[in-house]
Homo-oligomer: 478 residues x 2
């Protein structure tokens, strides 16, 4: 048995070293591999299949809200990146520069896109003429590059995959509606399909996107009490439109500037799934995005009829669920540990005695519960269980978040919680950037968001003691 | 009426200037736009939707043949690219180099991947240990960059989208089988779904992929008689495996080198669709990949019941076909011309008289045929028509290819045909590279492929007159 459990025992426990636990999980479950390209990762088949499932659902939700996909160039000429001042200041320090094509030096350097506002703006300036052309609701699925110093698989890598929506609207009201609509799409996606509870809110000016008027965010809380910004949506107003001269003729034949949004979710969310649901046995995958939802393991497969029935069940369940069967010559114990580590939501065991009773055993990955069920109506049983697993995973994560959310009323209280209790800290803020900076420098917390559901946990700023009516979630973040 | 036809009249006729016709079509049907990034294109929603439909079907065919998707880094360190000698010689002159990250100069230059053999090899060397790990059947959908001098939308651009399959096998036989299997997948995809007839065959050594043992190709013939290499499949033998030390322990515990393939199809195929099926009115899209398969146009929509019924038909047909409705205030004539130009396979006209008769008018884009059909059983009628359109488009393309395929027995004949008759030229070749070069220099033709269906149109080489038993398709190519 010692040998059978080898795969799992080699994962460092979370309590011992959370960072090492994370690294062990992403490597040992074959989600990623490293390459000789520093700071970039290889997303292996098991990891990429999760991304494909994420893409599939998000893309559907984008199309249902009227968006279409496009493909913009990978490169941005330096002069184009320079057009919007705040934006270039935010991104220039972390872009990769192409200087040569073949053996020739380029006349102008090209940066590898860190984000594509500038390219979309140039295109929109080209194609928008009148109010009839609006709104433009574009999205693209692509890779982007940001030259980060400290990298972690999924969480922060020099290249990552994402989608970036970029939309243009006739009025400020419409761009504001779009910004919030897409944030709600992200929140719904996280909560319903990934079982990750999120706090929706607005970023402070200090934390907002380079060039944005307002940035909205969904923030999730990881196992170790650190926050993960899981999706963002930006309202640019007409700032870029003025810089790029994106105008339209309105119904009264007056020239107006367009109003703009962008919003993105990336492969970073896979890191969020791992750190929200994983445990010391490895991954725990939400059924909706698990590459394999049901893994069938025949027990004593040499006994008459077991292997045949197991394959029959694979075909039967395969019509409705992503189902696989492990017929390798490893022992059942090894298989249990392996598929548990890989986070497969449901394990189906079928042995000779089950077969006699027209039954099988189902084992849940999330809570280890083991039940014997009839083979009659198996699809319905599996469907109900998968839905219940999603709900339980969400509830468990929500309970943990509530347990790890603290309230601070004074600076000393804030400092004490920040130093000793990992998690979110709710505290009032007077909206003075000096207080925000002070909390960062002296308590090592950043503002995560000003939640849509504003509360009043006190009537003074946690930092300066002046009057304050704005609640902020503070914390340490990835 | 003059005004209504404006959109179409601005497309240059093929006979007048084929290159300009192509440019007009891709621009005026909103497939692409140019940007300030020289040689790179923006794929607009209408063009990208075609690519999504292509991806969807190809990905399905790859998965059905056992392949899984992965994501490798965008960058290749110079030292990694240099590992396989023939490969680097082929690609180094046309790669883009990243030299700086942020404000720092990189210690080693990174090239933006022109293709990913080297990255896959490094990864495979890392993860393959034993015969149990084989075969590895990986694919990735991504962007690649080749610093071309002369660019054309879809056909040759500095950045393009593609898929690249990279597989590893235990034996030479298996890698050879895989190479041919994937070529057949490409051929089936082109013929069945894109209605493009192709010639399958092997490339000569001169025309094969840098580093490959053998390259297989599917070649299609465009309207102007030029060939388009539409998909390729390469057998690398163990060449890269030796350079990258990719070995496995076989069943007898002996260390063996792996055998490798790669295969790719790109957004170039969209250029192939345009130049195979398009006409002087614009695009003609194969139903299978058309973003809109049926466009409903209400006639006299203000008359009682017309608009309602048209919308009802949209919902009804929308369950089975990609269906849209044009309720804009443009005239029917303008709409007809517009949707014709955009290549929509079927137009459905519904007017008050049709409504009275429980009928509608269907107009085929491929041959202009116009039929009045009953609204009863409309789905079946549309389904049959779309299948018939695909078959007719294929037949038309095939007839043209046959009409434009010539046979040359002597050098003079070759020269005369090459100078005056656009198309494929079938001629025997002694397999001496000197003759191939001679034909290129003096007749301006390259070898397109040595077809799987070898024929004997003569028993001597068309160039030198020596004994020859190998048929080659020659031609001018994109």
């Amino acid at each position: 048995m010692a040998n059978e459990k080898k795969a799992v025992e080699s994962i460092t426990s979370m309590e011992e070293d959370f960072g090492q636990w994370y690294t062990d999980v992403v490597k040992k479950t074959d989600l990623i591999d490293y390459s000789s390209v520093k700071g970039c990762m290889i997303i292996r088949p098991y990891g990429y299949a999760i991304w494909e499932n994420i893409q599939h659902q998000l893309d559907k939700m984008f199309k249902e809200t009227g968006h279409v996909n496009v493909c913009m160039p990978l490169f941005i000429p330096e002069s184009l990146l320079n057009k919007e001042k705040e934006h270039v200041e935010g991104f220039a320090p972390e872009v990769a520069w192409v200087t040569h094509g073949g053996s020739e030096k380029l006349q102008e350097r090209l940066c590898v896109r860190p984000t594509s506002e500038t390219l979309f703006c140039e295109h929109y300036a080209n194609i928008i003429r009148s109010y009839r052309d609006l709104p433009k609701l574009y999205n693209q699925w692509c890779n982007v590059v940001r030259w980060e110093k400290n990298t972690r698989p999924f969480l922060r890598s020099r290249e990552f995959l994402w989608q970036e929506g970029h939309t243009m609207h006739a009025t400020a009201e419409e761009s504001q509606e779009e910004t919030q609509r897409m944030l709600r799409v992200y929140a719904e996606f996280c909560e319903k399909y990934l079982a990750i509870p999120v706090v929706m809110g607005r970023k402070t000016d200090k934390e907002k996107f380079a060039g944005a008027l307002e940035t909205y965010t969904i923030e999730a809380l990881m196992h170790d009490g650190k926050a993960l910004q899981s999706g963002t949506s930006h309202n640019f107003g007409d700032g870029f439109a003025r810089a790029f001269n994106i105008t339209y003729l309105d119904r009264n034949n007056q020239l107006q500037y367009c109003h703009q949004t962008s919003w993105g979710m990336s492969t970073r969310i896979i890191g969020g799934i791992i750190m929200t649901h994983g445990d010391n046995n490895g991954l725990v995958l939400p059924p909706f995005i698990a590459p394999t939802q049901v893994m069938i393991i025949p027990i004593a497969a040499h006994k008459s009829g077991v292997a045949e029935k197991a394959r029959e069940l694979k075909n039967q369940l395969g019509l409705k669920f992503r189902t696989d069967i492990d017929e390798s010559d490893n022992t059942p114990g090894w298989k249990f540990a392996e598929h548990e580590m890989r986070g497969i939501p449901l394990r189906l065991e079928l042995g000779p005695r089950d077969l006699e009773n027209n039954a099988c055993v189902l084992v849940r990955r999330d809570n280890g519960e083991k039940i014997s069920v009839s083979l009659d109506g198996l699809e319905e049983t599996v469907e109900t269980l998968l839905a219940d697993i999603t709900a339980s995973m969400y509830n468990l994560a929500m309970e943990r978040r509530e347990r790890m959310t603290y309230t601070a009323h004074t600076f000393d209280e804030m400092k004490e919680i920040a130093a000793n209790k990992p998690g979110f800290i709710k505290a009032m803020w007077c909206q003075d950037p000096a207080c925000e900076l002070n909390l960062k420098e002296r308590c090592d917390v950043t503002s995560r968001c000003m939640p849509f559901d504003n509360e009043s946990v006190s009537d003074i700023c946690v930092c300066c003691g002046q009057k304050a009516d704005r609640l902020v979630y503070w914390g340490k973040a990835y």
